[in-house]
């Protein structure tokens, strides 16, 4: 037990710093993908709510397809698919072999595109749960469209969407473990490296689980606080 603790310590032979750096990478790639997905989600939700027929079909196709295909396949598509585009270009500059997007960008893109579908559904649901009276009041008072969106629609939708967004974030965080297939040194990849180095796979994957659980719990607390903050003044 003590040996195990020493192994994850911060001494010269300790895996502690490496695991923590990997955890930072996990949070970074998950957050970047979540943000990208949020942007996509707003666009797709807008297309579903206010778009014309072709836009609506496109948006519906996007959300149904991306929610039915395993994330792992999407990650492969981004990782190897970007290689398809980048390898010829890199060869023009004298590179050799297979060149693709760095794991971080490929992972961020894949997570963003997948979570965008879930974001869109959450945001659309939240929009419909805002009472129309409040939106009509803003129009009646003479607010221009952008001001109304910024001051009224966005905060109200955010309030209703927060619990759903919290769920999407938890999902994204767990999905990010799959990005280890691209070689990005996030928690899972670091645990693989550690376990092949020390031949103690259980210890390392267990530590990975503990790290993920810690991040999940902390982000759950943050989302709770946000929900509390954004529902001030609600009856």
């Amino acid at each position: 037990m003590l040996e195990t603790l020493a192994m994850f310590g911060f001494g010269p032979d300790g895996w502690g710093p490496a695991m923590l750096r990997a955890a930072a990478n996990t949070v970074a790639v998950a957050a970047a993908g979540f943000a990208l997905g949020g942007g996509l989600g707003i666009l797709v939700a807008w297309a579903k709510i206010a778009g014309n027929a072709p836009l609506r079909w496109l948006a519906a196709g996007y959300t149904t397809v991306l929610r039915g295909i395993p994330d792992l396949l999407v990650i492969y598509l981004f990782y190897f698919g970007s290689g398809l585009l980048l390898t010829p270009i890199a060869h023009m500059f004298g590179a050799e072999g297979f060149v693709s997007l760095p794991g971080f960008l490929a992972g961020m893109g894949a997570i963003g595109v997948v979570s965008g579908a879930y974001h869109a559904e959450v945001i659309r649901g939240a929009f419909y749960s805002v009472s129309t009276g409040e939106l009509e009041a803003a129009t009646a008072i003479g607010m221009p469209r952008l001001l109304k969106f910024r001051r009224i629609t966005l905060p109200l939708v955010a309030r209703h969407a927060l619990p759903g967004l919290g769920n999407v974030w938890q999902m994204v965080l767990k999905e990010s473990a799959l990005i280890s297939v691209t070689g990005l040194v996030e928690i899972m990849r670091q645990a693989q490296i550690g376990s092949s180095f020390t031949r103690q796979p259980f210890t390392f994957y267990f530590a990975a689980g503990v790290l993920f659980l810690t991040i999940t719990i902390l982000s759950g607390l943050i989302f709770n606080r946000l929900e509390h903050r954004y529902s001030r003044g609600r009856a």
Partner: protein, 243 residues
């Protein structure tokens, strides 16, 4: 896009469907049994077990499935006690490890769905059953469970689709499911787009098949919400009295 390559890939990927479907159906069935037990323990607040289940659900929903799978497949080999026990004949096979990880994972999510459903059974229904003299298992089997099942089905349908998608992780412990074969073809040919389209089509078809089955089950389980058959006066009258 090269359609000949696409159709060849598609045919190769079809060989992965049995593994994908088997893992999904077996883990869902086993997982649902576990989930039901867990949900009953939570709802009845059976003391020491109650705490265990809460912890179990928290841990399994808070960590990625990949971590759970790797702990079972790679991690357990670290202990000589396990390697020398009878369980090793199963635990060294990637198939059983994937099945175990998927089952434990879906049991955690499923138990929350079933718990919500059991809690939403109207008290009046249970009191009526008690007034008729039903108790214990009979009441659960005839009243609580069927009503909870109706409530749970839409949410559990989502879980079905999530599990179809989750089986793709089995490819990371060397199993040749649809994703595993797809990954191999991509690595051999470097043609990710065609392979993605072919594999994606298969997964979408499986998901939609499942959605269809769930819809049919929903219709079957909610006879009171069905359109009355033409000329079926009795059921139409009943519908008016009890909407």
């Amino acid at each position: 896009m090269d359609f000949e390559f696409l159709s060849q890939t598609f045919l190769k990927l079809l060989h992965g469907i049995p593994v994908t479907l088997e893992l999904a159906t077996l883990s869902l069935m086993l997982g649902a049994c576990l989930a039901l037990a867990f949900a009953v323990i939570r709802v009845r607040r059976i003391r020491p077990l109650n705490w265990l289940v809460i912890g179990y659900v928290y841990v399994f929903r808070g960590t990625p499935l990949l971590v759970q799978l790797f702990i079972i497949y790679y991690g357990l080999a670290q202990f000589p006690e396990i390697r020398s026990s009878f369980a090793w004949t199963y635990l060294r096979e990637p198939y059983w490890c994937a099945l175990l990880a998927l089952t434990l994972n879906t049991a955690a999510y499923g138990s929350e769905i079933l718990r919500g459903a059991l809690l939403s059974v109207p008290r009046g229904q249970i009191m009526a059953a008690r007034a008729c003299g039903m108790s214990g298992l009979l009441l659960f089997r005839r009243i609580s469970f069927p009503i909870a099942l109706r409530q749970a089905l839409p949410a559990y349908g989502n879980e079905f689709i999530l599990m179809i998608k989750a089986t793709s992780l089995a490819s990371l412990v060397t199993l040749a499911d649809v994703t595993g074969i797809a990954a191999r073809i991509i690595a051999e040919t470097y043609r990710p787009v065609e392979v993605f389209v072919a594999a994606g089509t298969i997964y979408l078809a499986l998901s939609y098949g499942l959605i269809l089955l769930v819809r049919l089950a929903e219709i079957r389980l909610n006879p009171d919400q069905r359109e009355p058959a033409p000329g079926a006066g009795v059921s139409a009258a009943r519908k008016e009295v009890n909407p």
